[in-house]
């Protein structure tokens, strides 16, 4: 039960990233899967470089696709995804890499430390965003205006492009570092991240049905989906 809860936390935060990049950056970011995998491979060297590389790819994605409409940006992100996957395949193709992991005791439960850390980071991310969503500071209002219509946002004096860049950078960095943590203890392959992306995309799609309440209902949705399948 407790591990289910931790997984749900992680998927909820990943789905949050998917949802944010869909609504604010207007792209169904298909490169998240490869970024997740990249995080896993990078964690062989160091966990601290994962968010940096993730952020860098997010920025690349933003710069590459900022003048495109939603469908083209999505196709662009698919291209980036395949490119990253291919690069990983060339660099690491023949190795069966089993990532290190540590055991951690949590109220009598044995857990993998990195997974625990990943869910704690996710929880923090979710709580911060929830507070941001419920307290509605001015910056949240700005984000909402962008979500509805970028043109309008510009007329409201909001720098939509900057917001887009920030969302893509943060979500990619988040995906990358969670990938580094959550894949530890596993044997990884260049395509492994697709599973996590498709699953979080699935949760995000269900949550998206609730429209404005989507962000608040992400965690329950994620929990429900994890419990059901």
């Amino acid at each position: 039960m407790i591990s289910l809860f931790f997984s749900a936390l992680i998927y909820a935060s990943l789905a949050l990233c998917v949802l944010l990049s869909y609504r604010v950056a207007k792209v169904v970011n298909l490169s998240f899967g490869s970024i997740f995998t990249l995080g896993g491979y990078l964690s062989v060297f160091s966990l601290f470089i994962t968010p940096i590389f993730g952020a860098w790819i997010g920025l690349l994605l933003h710069i590459g696709s900022k003048r495109m409409d939603a469908s083209k940006a999505t196709i662009f992100s698919l291209g980036i995804a395949i490119a990253i996957e291919e690069a990983l395949r060339i660099l690491f193709r023949v190795e069966n890499i089993l990532l290190d992991s540590r055991i951690f005791y949590f109220f009598g439960y044995k857990l993998v430390f990195e997974h625990f850390l990943a869910s704690m980071i996710s929880a923090t991310f979710l709580i911060l965003f929830l507070a941001f969503e419920l307290k509605k500071p001015f910056s949240r209002l700005k984000l909402k205006v962008i979500e509805e219509d970028i043109e309008n946002a510009e007329l409201y004096g909001i720098d939509a492009e900057k917001a887009r860049a920030i969302v893509l950078v943060i979500s990619s960095a988040f995906f990358c570092s969670i990938g580094g943590l959550y894949l530890s203890g596993r044997v990884i392959s260049p395509t492994i991240g697709w599973l996590y992306m498709i699953f979080s995309l699935f949760i995000a799609t269900i949550a998206n049905v609730f429209r404005e309440k989507a962000y608040i209902l992400l965690l329950p949705t994620s929990f429900g989906v994890c419990w059901l399948v």
Partner: protein
């Protein structure tokens, strides 16, 4: 810009056409010892590329050892990818190279396609890894296909042997849903012929449908009182399952049908005691004089531990073909009648062209990883 691109395209294609049109070079015949050309199909790219590297290394090692034995062998390695389509094309390109026989391929669909292509192009194919239903091909008249790897039922036989050797009183089966047809065959064999008590079975869903399903199964099984758990998924997910099972407090011995959990590097890094696995051969249990040589030289030349399934069987397949071809005459009847030495034992083929695994001189090995060391169970 576009015009230039098109022009470039056209030039490229003309070059390609010219390349196609050049007549194939005819090999100069060697008068004394005829060269034995053996084609090897290795999944260098795609899903199985990690196994592909091991197979490639093993094939090169086989060439070297065969030469040391005095055979004039040339091994030609081609990438067969992870799809039957790529396998068929690679097979035909090897045929074009004029090989005596072709060994290798990894997955079952690849082996099936290769078997059909062998029949069409009249070139012997020795399946060294896949466990597909190749016997039926032989029964229906395809004389060109042989297999030195074990077939599906032998996987079950080894598992039964393990249960008997360890005198386990109870066992539990873990299947992998996408491999259901394969797993079910093996499971029914185990259920029918062991005295140990069957305590139930669980199926892990494909991670694509539910990436966390292995956790559910692991926790469910950890609560069960059972001595041996037989894992039917040799894929990457088995590592996740084993770790989760131990974290959830389960302490039964885990028996894996090979795959990832039989890789020495992975076992050492995972460092979880009580994982049993089946292998074609193990270094600690020499079966022929080639066994030790294989493992030692592999380490010497490639710097890693030898994979004990895909690698060793590819190695053996090359040696089998070499020995059969060197005898001269019809290769098929040589293979059907002869005995051949490999690193995993002494091979003979039955009437369905399947290597006689389980015979006196050719037996699988079961190892168990305990406290940092691999011990031989049988």
């Amino acid at each position: 810009m576009i015009g230039k691109l098109k022009a470039g395209l056209i030039v490229g294609l003309i070059v390609f056409l010219l390349f196609c049109a050049t007549p194939p070079q005819t090999p100069t015949p060697q008068p004394q010892m005829p060269e034995i050309k053996i084609g090897v199909l290795v999944p260098k790219t795609g899903e199985f590329s990690s196994a592909g590297l091991v197979m490639e290394n093993a094939a090169k090692l086989a060439e070297k050892h065969a030469k040391e034995m005095g055979y004039n062998v040339k091994v030609i390695i081609y990438d067969c990818g992870d799809k039957p389509e790529t396998t068929k094309t690679a097979f035909l390109s090897l045929v074009r190279e004029g090989v005596t026989a072709i060994v290798g391929t990894y997955s079952s669909p690849q082996a099936m396609t290769a078997a059909d292509t062998a029949n069409e192009s009249k070139v012997v194919f020795v399946a060294s890894v896949a466990s597909a239903d190749l016997e039926s091909k032989v029964k229906t008249g395809n004389k060109y296909v042989f297999r030195n790897a074990y077939n599906t039922s032998y996987w079950g036989i080894l598992a039964i042997e393990f249960l008997e050797k360890t005198k386990a009183k109870s066992y539990y089966l873990i299947g992998y849903e996408p491999l259901k047809t394969f797993n079910l065959g093996m499971f029914s064999l185990i259920k029918n012929s062991t005295k140990a008590e069957f305590r139930g079975e669980s199926w892990v869903k494909s991670p694509t449908v539910s990436p966390e399903d292995y956790k559910r199964v692991a926790q469910e099984v950890a609560k069960k009182d059972v001595e041996v758990i037989i894992v039917g998924d040799p894929g990457l997910g088995s590592v996740d399952f084993v770790r989760e099972y131990r974290l959830a407090g389960g302490n039964a011995t885990i028996y894996s049908v090979g795959g990832t959990l039989a890789l020495p590097d992975i076992l050492a890094k995972l460092n979880i005691s009580g994982i049993a696995f089946q292998a074609a051969a193990l270094e600690v249990k020499a079966k022929t004089n080639l066994t030790k040589k294989y493992f030692e030289d592999y380490r010497k030349y490639y710097g890693t531990e030898a994979n004990n399934y895909a690698g060793i069987l590819t190695y053996d397949a090359i040696l089998i073909v070499t020995q059969a071809a060197a005898r001269g005459g019809d290769l098929i009847s040589n293979l059907e009648r002869g005995t051949f030495i490999g690193a995993a034992g002494v091979y003979e083929f039955d009437e369905n062209h399947q290597a006689k695994w389980g015979s006196e001189k050719l037996q699988g090995t079961i190892g168990i990883y305990r406290e940092g060391k691999i011990q031989v169970v049988s």
